[in-house]
């Protein structure tokens, strides 16, 4: 069975995920730049317990699979490789929508140890959305060959999230990765991700917007991140937020009149 998500099809995908025969204790997203070994990590963790394929009429293919660790069943979702979550392409939008609206229990970013610096852009974008992030520094074997050594404990301290070195093709580091995922998902470890601070003018507007975003979404999304995207004026995100507000049951928004959320959000997004 294949699973795909169109740029706008996040809810269809989430429904598909919840209809899964395997009842998972947690859903974990796998993100990363193209060609960093995400699928190799995915295959290494899930073995043959996975499904991929084409879904008629859809554009982006997502693989999902399962593994067990410490008596918990974990569903992994292999997201498209992207350099960014700013939705410059359908792939980026799918990855972003899943991390933001799919509410995964954790997100693993697979990075290439041979050009780590460039990979950190995506890492910073992900930790800006969710603190429940784990960095897997993959291809350390290749890096070693190029005489590049990555100081993972130091990286862990500066990013404020667990950092696990791996050579996924040789199945090195995968047990440590499962353990790190377990700790983050089941609250055995609380991450304190590095907070990206913008200049004063931007921080002031974020503060202003955040309150309104919190009210409209009742704490559902990371209000700081939503405020930043409103400042970007990203139309795809505004659209997805509107979808969310329109879909929501009235009982889930006791403080808002029907339609007020959509209207309020429209006003908010029109300010920029």
């Amino acid at each position: 069975m294949g699973l795909t998500a169109q740029s706008t099809g996040i809810y269809a995908f989430l429904e598909e995920l919840s209809r899964s025969p395997v009842k998972a204790d947690a859903v974990v997203a796998l993100a990363g730049n193209p060609n960093t070994g995400k699928s190799t990590v995915f295959n290494g963790l899930t073995g043959l317990n996975q499904h991929t394929g084409n879904w008629p009429g859809k554009t982006v293919v997502l693989a999902k699979g399962n593994y067990r660790h410490r008596n918990k069943s974990i569903t992994l979702v292999d997201l498209p490789g992207t350099y960014s979550l700013l939705a410059n392409s359908a792939d980026e939008q799918v990855a972003r929508d899943f991390i933001c609206f799919g509410d995964p229990d954790a997100t693993v970013v697979v990075a290439d140890a041979t050009c780590l610096e460039r990979n950190l852009n995506l890492v910073l974008q992900v930790i800006e959305i969710t603190p429940k992030t784990i960095l897997c520094v993959n291809l350390v074997d290749e890096a070693k060959r190029k005489r590049i050594e990555v100081d993972c404990p130091k990286l862990e301290r500066s990013l404020g999230i667990p950092v696990v070195p791996a050579a996924a093709r040789d199945k090195v580091g995968l047990t440590d990765l499962k353990e790190a995922i377990h700790k983050v998902v089941f609250g055995k470890q609380r991450n304190r991700p590095k907070r990206i601070v913008y200049n004063q003018a931007i921080e002031a507007v974020i503060g202003e917007l955040q309150g309104e975003v919190k009210r409209l979404f009742q704490g559902k999304f990371n209000s700081r991140w939503v405020a930043l995207r409103l400042l970007d004026g990203d139309p795809t995100l505004v659209n997805e937020m509107r979808n969310y507000l329109q879909r929501r049951q009235p009982k889930a928004e006791p403080f808002l009149e029907k339609g007020e959320g959509v209207k309020g959000f429209e006003q908010l997004s029109n300010r920029f």
Binding site: L86, L116, N121
Partner: protein
């Protein structure tokens, strides 16, 4: 002494320069920033395609091809 600033398109193959400014807006700007082209980044021109465009650059450990319509909006300054 003022350091000369010029368009990335003028960087000779084999030379390095430092990014000063990305003079684009919107998605085109996002794309370049996401590739690591933020101010103070060191860029090295690696090689030209047969037609001379695009040119491959080394940026933050990765090789990336840029078309002149993108690279001419990137201001760099020479480094020694």
């Amino acid at each position: 002494m003022a350091v000369a600033e010029f368009e990335l398109t003028q960087l000779p193959i084999g030379r390095m320069a430092e990014v000063v400014k990305v003079g684009l807006t919107g998605l085109a700007r996002n794309r370049l920033l996401d590739l690591g082209l933020v101010p103070s980044t060191i860029v090295e021109a690696i090689r030209k395609s047969p037609s001379g465009d695009p040119v491959a650059y080394k940026i933050r450990g990765a090789v990336i091809a840029l078309r002149s319509e993108e690279s001419r909006h990137i201001t760099v300054r020479s480094i020694n």
